[in-house]
């Protein structure tokens, strides 16, 4: 008895799609498509993966920043070599500067 009730409920549930009508999407969908088509220009690098110009610009900006930072580091890091710097520090600590007067003999 309980099993019959259950089977009938399952059959009714599966049949619940009978007589289903197609839903119509709202008008704003097409407006959205046009907006995306004209608003965000798309570059087709491969047919499966269109890439928006916005994404490409961000990628280009990131590459530019990294490149500039590298260039800056390379140009400024080599001005004094570490050995020379440590000799200067020792000289300064013991006041071995060029201004020390010579022995007055």
């Amino acid at each position: 008895m309980e099993n019959d009730k259950k089977n009938s409920w399952i059959a009714d549930t599966i049949r619940s799609l009978d007589g289903m009508k197609r839903a119509e999407g709202s008008e704003k969908i097409y407006a959205g498509i046009l907006h995306k088509m004209h608003g965000a220009k798309v570059i087709i690098l491969s047919p499966d993966k269109p890439v928006s110009i916005k994404k490409l610009s961000v990628a280009a900006a990131v590459i530019f920043i990294i490149f500039s930072f590298n260039l800056y580091t390379v140009n400024h890091a080599g001005t004094k070599n570490p050995k020379q710097q440590s000799i200067d520090n020792v000289a300064q600590y013991y006041q071995l500067t060029d201004t020390n007067p010579l022995y007055n003999i």
């Binding site: 399952i10 599966i14 619940s16 799609l17 007589g19 289903m20 839903a23 999407g25 097409y30 498509i33």
Partner: protein, 196 residues
């Protein structure tokens, strides 16, 4: 003007042809998206993405399949991509919500998706069925949706899925038997709760 001629014009950037193409396929694409994604806003977004892809890749259409098959294939792939993306993001939450941590029993929260095309008297049961469809494996889900919601023939489904007709038939049978099993569990769960 037939669908292939429209696609040729779309590939040349003709927006009027695109608008006519959209009018021809909007309903099929939207309904398929609704069946997969079970969310109106998400389906609308997916429809936009699909038609943008059609606009961008109209020139790549090969005449070895019908235009309808091609559109359905794009739609199914786009919907499955969205579902996979959502699953990746919600994997841990999903696993936690699937099982009750105390009893280990399967949790079933009442379906909240109501397909706008369903008859009023069937709404409640259809919502439960959609929830069960959502749990099917991808290929069974695709075969079931295309057959029982979109009303495609087995031959058309096999073209969309790039599979043999026998394989499609078997997928539909397995989908139905899985749905019966899931619905049986849901019945036990809901009736069990009522009795308690």
């Amino acid at each position: 003007m037939n669908e292939i001629q429209l696609l040729i014009l779309i590939a040349e950037g003709n927006e009027q042809a695109f608008s006519r193409f959209y009018a021809l396929f909007r309903s099929k694409v939207y309904n398929t998206c609704l069946s997969y994604l079970q969310n109106i806003e998400e389906s609308e977004e997916a429809v936009q993405d699909i038609f943008l892809e059609i606009y961008a890749s109209a020139g790549n259409f090969r005449k070895d399949a019908s235009v309808s098959t091609w559109v359905y294939r794009l739609t199914v792939n786009k919907c499955l991509d969205r579902i996979r993306y959502k699953k990746r993001r919600k994997r841990f939450a999903f696993i936690l919500s699937l099982f009750n941590q105390v009893t280990g029993e399967l949790q079933f929260d009442h379906a909240d998706f109501s397909h706008p095309g369903i008859l009023l008297e069937n709404k409640e049961k259809a919502a439960i069925l959609f929830k069960a469809i959502d749990q099917l494996p991808e290929n069974q889900k695709t075969a079931f949706i295309l057959k029982h919601i979109e009303g495609l023939s087995q031959k058309e489904i096999s073209e969309v899925m790039n599979a043999g007709e026998k394989a499609v038939e078997s997928l539909i049978q397995r989908a139905k038997s899985n749905l019966r099993r899931m619905l049986s569990d849901i019945y036990d769960l809901t009736e069990g709760k009522k009795k308690k």
